[in-house]
């Protein structure tokens, strides 16, 4: 296990800026947002909990030009790849779903595939939990176990450093002077923090009586005709925030607009809560009612993905709970699904 001081960590990021656009989570009021790195200022928070915006935004852009005219070329910009610092385990877990969607099937998405290859992920352990955190219910630990290049465990005097890929290993090996041996005490400190955070998430789960994912099997199908959906959708204002903020939601809309020389095709995030999401030409809508669209979201996450990909498309990050202006709470819905006979 390696260790890096705060000072040397600043040097590392400065160095990485040559090859990457480096983003770090910065605190603003109660939230954390990714900002371009501009030195390790006081608002940079590597630990804490997940950022406001989902990590997918760096890999599956909210708006991306995907074709120009009839040119066969893939429209890659000249930008350097991105290095994201401080990504959390709940976001990394979402890669399993996104990889399944964008790298799987007969066609790979060239934009996502390239971002996955080129981007660098320096993740970090959570150092506490907020009340919407319920990752453990989805078998996600509050510290990264996979899908990172380098992981940081925040300590008082720096970070404990773990590498998770060849790319990460090469970065650490190539800058050996910045790193030192972690020693046993620091490893113990890290484990102690991890235990605290696990305990905090467990407390959330117990207090809210959130079901573990093992109890979710078949729960949506069983309740397909239940009143839960109409009941829960009563306050929904159809903003689609739960979709866009979700680290696993992958649906998108293709639209064309006239460019300078030719037609440009863009891909933008779409949201299945919006009325026209599934509407077909001529106006027929398979999900005309809001509650059907709310049900669809849960069906996709807790019925479709387990069946086609062997995993739930929820990581317990809790973003949709914070984002919903109507206080629709995924934890409450899951609880109702499991408890409803």
């Amino acid at each position: 296990m390696r260790y890096i001081s705060h000072e040397d960590f600043g040097r590392l990021l400065h160095d990485l800026e040559r090859d990457y656009q480096v983003y770090v989570p910065c605190r603003k009021n109660i939230h954390r947002y990714y900002r371009p790195y501009a030195g390790l200022t006081d608002d940079v928070v590597i630990g804490e909990v997940r950022a406001f915006e989902p990590l997918k935004a760096f890999f599956f852009r909210a708006r991306q030009k995907v074709a120009e005219g009839f040119s066969p070329d893939v429209v890659h910009g000249e930008d350097r790849p991105v290095c994201i610092v401080g990504a959390k385990a709940c976001d990394l877990k979402a890669f399993a779903i996104l990889d399944h969607v964008f790298r799987g099937h007969d066609y790979a998405d060239p934009y996502y595939a390239r971002a996955r290859e080129a981007n660098l992920i320096i993740s970090a352990d959570c150092t506490y939990a907020i009340d919407t955190c319920f990752c453990l219910a989805l078998n996600v630990d509050p510290y990264p176990r996979e899908a990172f290049d380098i992981n940081l465990s925040p300590l008082d005097d720096g970070f404990l450093v773990e590498t998770g890929s060849q790319k990460g290993t090469a970065i650490v090996a190539g800058r050996a002077a910045l790193f030192a041996d972690a020693g046993e005490q620091r490893t113990r400190d890290r484990n102690e923090t991890r235990r605290h955070v696990i305990h905090a998430v467990q407390k959330n789960i117990e207090q809210n009586r959130i079901p573990h994912q093992d109890a979710l099997e078949g729960a949506v199908a069983r309740n397909y005709e239940a009143e839960i959906w109409a009941d829960e959708a009563q306050t929904c204002v159809e903003c689609g925030a739960c979709n866009t903020i979700c680290p696993t939601c992958h649906c998108f809309l293709l639209y064309d607009q006239k460019g300078k020389a030719h037609i440009e095709r863009f891909r933008i995030w779409d949201a299945c809560l919006l009325k026209d999401f599934a509407r077909v030409a001529g106006g027929a809508n398979p999900r005309p009612k809001l509650w059907m669209r709310l049900r669809n979201r849960f069906e996709k996450k807790f019925d479709f993905f387990p069946k086609v990909a062997g995993m739930y498309a929820c990581t317990g990050c809790g973003r949709c709970i914070s984002a919903c202006p109507a206080k629709i709470d995924i934890r409450r819905i899951l609880k109702r699904l499991v408890n409803h006979a």
């Binding site: 995907v66 074709a67 009839f70 040119s71 066969p72 070329d73 893939v74 429209v75 890659h76 969607v101 964008f102 799987g104 099937h105 007969d106 066609y107 998405d109 060239p110 397909y224 005709e225 992958h250 649906c251 998108f252 809309l253 293709l254 639209y255 064309d256 607009q257 006239k258 030719h262 037609i263 095709r265 891909r267 779409d270 299945c272 999401f277 599934a278 509407r279 077909v280 030409a281 001529g282 106006g283 027929a284 398979p286 996709k300 479709f304 069946k307 086609v308």
Partner: protein, 274 residues
Amino acid sequence: MRSGMNPYRPIGAEVVDVIAETPTIKTLRLRPDEKINFRPGQFIQLTVPGVGEAPFTPSSPSTWKDCMEVTVMRVGKVTEKVHQLKPGDIVGLRGPYGRGYPLEAFVGKDLIVVGGGCGFAPIRTLMYVLLDQRSRFGKLIFRGGCKSPADLLYGKEMDAWAARRDLDLLITVDQGDAGWRGPVGLVTGILDGIDIDCENGVGILCGPPVMMKFSTRKLLQLGLREENLYLSMEKNMSCGIGKCGHCRLGTYYCCKDGPVFNYTQIKNFPDIWG
């Protein structure tokens, strides 16, 4: 990246002919810049530059070398513009996508093909193949329904097919007119009494959702087996490659797993049959 690697990019295609089929339906003959090999039942995405993209199933014989036809009903933003296209205009094409009809599963069996309205389009392609290879199949029965005689697609083919002795073809209309000699009523009404080997006969259905639902029910009542029914499902396919999420149908995406489904694949999806 190399050509063909960008799944979102259309290739250019020239409109070479526009055929007005009915007051609301036109068939476009297109000549793509690169050959598009498709199987009956597969679909393509057609781009009207600057307007957008919409999915259509080719309606021409899949054996044509340079051209393909798509039959388009004017129902929305893109199709409105499609109807304004003229020979010489350039459109974009992506595809083909999805799975077509499993023709090998039809060999040696009696076939009942049921079409409704714009659902005639993919069925026309299929019929060309079936008639091309007529001796490979048992009895061939076609039952079609449309609103009125003026809404009947592919009049030329229908006349030619009606004259064939190796094809039992019957069309019904919701509302007849002075010249109409055929049956009037729903397509389910002309499914009664079809002479087919129920044990092995295959049913192929394409049309509006209501027609599909009741025709499927009818064929099952007549004794056809569930696993021998094939349905073309309509969803709003967009990316065509199972990524954008719009056309989910239960545990499938219509674009990559369909649009042709075996009945047993989709019989438990409440959205279709409810």
